[in-house]
């Protein structure tokens, strides 16, 4: 009797302890709502700093839909678990973050919890933002709270069970949310450390450029080895980089500030928005990122310079015989890409471009189909798309030709599906018809160039 009572007591204690532990891990209190602060209550210098930081964080890319109001949210973000919609981060009191105190904002950035105490999905990259300092969070808060408030209620996420239960996120955080991902390194320069702070924190480069595990978390052991961003592959930006000419700090700095580099080509896909935002960032911060990333890229074992790469491609003319691919290249591509004029006014010599050398043909196919659209209101490289001119088989012929002519990599096999998907996702926005073909082809279509 006494014995079973003790066992019962132990069991009860364990159950209670487990429940308490569960509550401690999962439950987060609401933070009191405030009246939306007046824009005048924020110092202009703080707002300005916040604008630069928001550009570094690429916030508008996810929190704005094409043609929509800035920061009003609503962008579908496809994940293996379902589609998550970005939220309204304008200071609207009811549908935005107007009633969030600075403390509530900082908690969201650091712990991924909203003002009401709900766990946020890690599509909001708080696994990086957790590294952002209080001071920077304050400036970001000041910037966002002085934007135009927009009434736009969040769209409900479309997630499968059990992922639609926010309690699951608490478990995810236990496994993957660590604040120690960034440490200053006293043996490195102040600039390197600044770059590391930005890259590992607010700029969240790894969110696209690091591969993810089955639970959608970054595999930090292979950080920067290449990942995915929408329907593009985000190249490896460490020693595994497919770039034929090695990146260095100067090249990175130029590329990040201009969106192209004569030895590397043009930033496209989601990276186009990143470099567009970086134009509004202090040059010193971009340079710091370049210095840190040059170290991450490291020195590839077979470093070659531009002249060597181009010379090798020239001598390789004989590699691909006179073929259908060669004929397409001659008429459709060579007038820009074989002109000897470097970017941005000429096309890059494809021997220098990462796209034909990459492990996966997706980016090359995307660009051949949809081209490089001009960035509205900016001087930027352009290229016509060939979706209307070439069928899938002809695209494949051309892509195979480019691979054999301009790289020493083995041929890509069986990428018919890649072409089909690229045609669906990349060309939907090029076709403007009344309906219904103008609707995004799938939830994976971000509806932006």
């Amino acid at each position: 009797m006494a014995r079973s009572g003790i066992i019962g007591g132990v069991v009860a204690a364990l159950v209670i302890a487990g429940a308490v532990l569960g509550v401690v891990l999962v439950w987060r209190p609401a933070i009191a709502a405030i009246d939306p602060p007046s824009p005048q209550s924020f110092a202009p210098e703080l707002v300005k700093r916040g604008r630069e930081l928001a550009a570094l964080g690429n916030c508008n890319d996810c929190h704005t839909v094409r043609g929509g109001k800035n920061f009003a949210g609503g962008l579908p973000v496809p994940t293996p678990f379902g589609t998550i919609f970005s939220t309204n981060i304008t200071p609207d009191a009811e549908t935005g973050i107007g009633r969030w105190s600075e403390g509530a904002f900082r908690r969201a950035m650091r712990l991924g919890v909203d003002r009401q105490g709900r766990h946020l999905y890690p599509t909001f990259p708080y696994d990086h933002f957790t590294n952002v300092t209080d001071e920077d969070d304050r400036a970001l808060y000041a910037y966002l709270m002085t934007r135009e408030p927009v009434v736009a209620a969040a769209r409900p996420n479309q997630l499968r069970f059990p992922f639609n239960q926010r309690v699951v996120i608490a478990g995810w955080k236990l496994l993957f949310l660590h604040r120690e991902t960034y440490h200053p390194d006293a043996t490195k320069s102040a600039e390197w450390n600044r770059g590391a702070y930005l890259v590992e924190g607010l700029a969240h480069c790894g969110a696209c450029h690091t591969p993810r595990n089955a639970l959608g978390a970054e595999r930090t052991k292979v950080a920067f080895s290449g990942g995915e961003a929408d329907d593009w592959s985000a190249y490896a930006i460490n020693t595994k980089s497919p770039a034929p000419v090695a990146w260095d700090a100067d090249a990175l700095d130029f590329y990040l500030r201009n969106g192209w580099h004569p030895d590397h080509g043009t930033a496209r896909g989601p990276m186009a928005q990143v470099v567009k935002n970086l134009a509004a960032v202090p040059a010193s911060d971009v340079h710091a990122i370049a210095v840190y990333m040059a170290d991450v890229f490291g020195v590839p074992h077979a470093a070659r310079d531009r002249a060597a790469v181009v010379a090798e491609a020239r001598s390789g003319v004989g590699r691909a015989p006179d073929s259908e691919g060669a004929a397409i290249f001659a008429a459709a591509c060579a007038s820009c890409h074989d002109s000897g004029r470097p970017p941005p006014y000429g096309g890059i010599n494809l021997a220098l471009s990462s796209a034909p050398s990459a492990p996966d043909p997706r980016n090359l196919v995307n660009i051949v189909l949809a081209g490089v659209r001009p960035v509205e209101g900016e001087r930027s490289p352009i290229m016509p798309g060939f979706a209307g001119t070439m069928n899938d088989q002809q695209i494949a012929v051309l892509v195979n030709y480019l691979r054999s002519r301009f790289t020493s990599q083995p041929p890509w096999g069986g990428f018919e599906k890649t072409i089909e998907e690229a045609r669906r996702t990349q060309t939907a926005y090029l076709t403007t018809s009344a309906a219904p073909t103008s609707a995004p082809a799938s939830a994976t279509q971000r509806d932006k160039p």
């Binding site: 259908e324 060669a326 004929a327 397409i328 001659a330 008429a331 459709a332 591509c333 007038s335 820009c336 659209r373 001009p374 352009i382 290229m383 016509p384 209307g388 001119t389 070439m390 002809q394 076709t431 403007t432 018809s433 009344a434």
Partner: protein, 165 residues
Amino acid sequence: MTTLKVNGQEHQIEADADTPLLYVLRDELKLNAAKFGCGLGQCGSCTVIVDGKAVLSCVTPLLLVEGKQITTLEGLGTDEAPAPIQRAFMEEQAAQCGYCIAGMMMRAQALLQRNSKPTDAEIRAELAPHLCRCGTHMRILRAVKRAAHLMDTAELLPANQGSAR
């Protein structure tokens, strides 16, 4: 030898497979509406319609259009019986020097075949690849709207219209 179907007629062409379509249209078939502007696919003045889609003929090799239906501006209408798109551009006086206009009309035609009631934003987005240095952009936009209206009110059209579609 390549077989080209241009404006409903078949032609046997001797040029190499990698010859740009534009050169064949202008130099061999003497169809001079499509213009050589930049030769890089960046200005739009060489645009023709291939199987219903606007295509930049200066960067399109012959082998990609073999057997497809190619339509040039000459295939849409004539001096006596201009097509709606041509009538609309004339009525709006949308051309100044006119160099870019044939290409503009062809892409607008392809748009209107697909979407008979485009919005202003859709017309702007569609014509974005075309450059005009005279600056008649507003007239061009009006002309495309007018053409859409003309196509919708078919009784206004001469009897032989639409044959090129």
